[in-house]
Symmetry: C2
Subunit: 236 residues, 2 copies
């Protein structure tokens, strides 16, 4: 499983770094032949070409990619790339940069699952930093997956899990695993922030849990979520 990153500019470089730090494979597409040397040197698979070109996307393995991220400097090019990617793979998860607010709707209509505006993110982060320095630092620590004791993971309940069909209270997640359930992402995509003990867990619901790697691995086992990065504690 791999991720396709379209655009290796200042934002794209950070996306690649973030994915590789978590040991995920990437393929970079960029139109600028000058970046090839840097990508070669870092051993990052890449294609020099137009990301909106369907042949280029096919070459990058769009049919079997887990996700695609477009962070090109023009929103028109981002839209065009998303349309090509969506045509070739209706299921791939697509995250797009938007450079102007007005573009967000168009990017979503083209098929983006999630749109991120760098100015919005930066501005709100700066405001949060002014108002709550400790909270932001804590969330940053949590976001910097992999380097920390405590992390947040999203753990899905599978068909064979003993948790499916029980209420949250019956599952005793905290007592059994030590994981703190912060929220639930329902199978329909909605986020429930303070789930009560009477909340009925269904197959496909995901528990958003805070805990150590060992605790989260225990919960992943219980939930029947076999995605490999959730079982890192088993590797020891």
């Amino acid at each position: 499983k791999h991720y396709i990153i379209c655009g290796y500019g200042r934002v794209g470089r950070q996306v690649v770094e973030g994915l590789r730090a978590n040991r995920f494979s990437v393929v970079v597409i960029d139109a600028d032949p000058d970046v090839a040397a840097e990508l070669d040197e870092k051993d990052i698979p890449h294609i020099i070409g137009d990301a909106a070109d369907e042949e280029v996307l096919i070459q990058a393995g769009i049919d079997r990619a887990s996700g695609l991220c477009t962070c090109l400097p023009s929103d028109a090019t981002n839209v065009f790339t998303i349309l090509s990617a969506r045509t070739l793979n209706p299921d791939v998860y697509i995250v797009s940069r938007s450079n102007f607010y007005e573009s967000e709707k168009k990017l979503r209509m083209a098929g983006a699952d999630h749109v991120i505006n760098p100015y919005w993110i930066t501005g709100h982060r700066m405001a949060a930093q002014l108002l709550h320095p400790g909270v932001v630092e804590f969330l940053d620590v949590i976001m910097r997956q992999g380097e920390l004791e405590l992390r947040i993971e999203e753990i899905r309940i599978s068909q064979d899990s003993p948790l499916a069909g029980k209420t949250l209270g019956q599952c005793q997640v905290r007592t059994e695993t030590g994981v703190n359930v912060l929220a639930i992402r329902c199978h329909d995509g909605q986020i429930v922030t303070s789930p009560g003990p009477e909340y009925p867990l269904q197959v496909g619901d995901a528990l958003i849990g805070l805990g150590t790697v060992a605790q989260l691995t225990k919960l992943a086992r219980l939930a029947g979520d076999n995605r490999p990065w959730l079982h890192m504690a088993d590797a020891h």
Copy 2:
């Protein structure tokens, strides 16, 4: 208490929006006379001038400001502004945008307490979104302070609090208030992510707690933290 925002561009606008959504006062400084009409219309106090000019900062009330945010498009101008602000107020909390990595060190040397690079933030957020869509959405919900049931607050322990001098276990914060203590920001600034029950709480330590407004208000009362936004539940 008010915040000074230097630069009303795409990032600065979002900082102002974030602060005003939380009902904090701001003063904007921007060199461009064209933004005055927009700021007038939105009833946002502002000064048209150079933020690095000490007289302009004095006019903006730098001596009594809680924080200053510089988000100018040139890092040289950000450095210059920070130097002026730091000269006039050694205690003001300063958050700066950096446009290039190489600038981060200079911005800190000039006196910035925290530096934010928009490309880093955006890229890592996109990577996190690809890998953990639910977790990122949950953290976004938490960051969007004010509109949600569940929020994270940093609550400081004051001299008169019964919590000061006790261990975390003795305080029984969860049982007494319902707040989930996620981390502690020590009086020396360090973040302790999984504090055990034997952790000794001191005056000046801050509990980073997750809970409803009512629960957090209860904890703020117990901790003797009188900052007004922590007591919103009392207003009802």
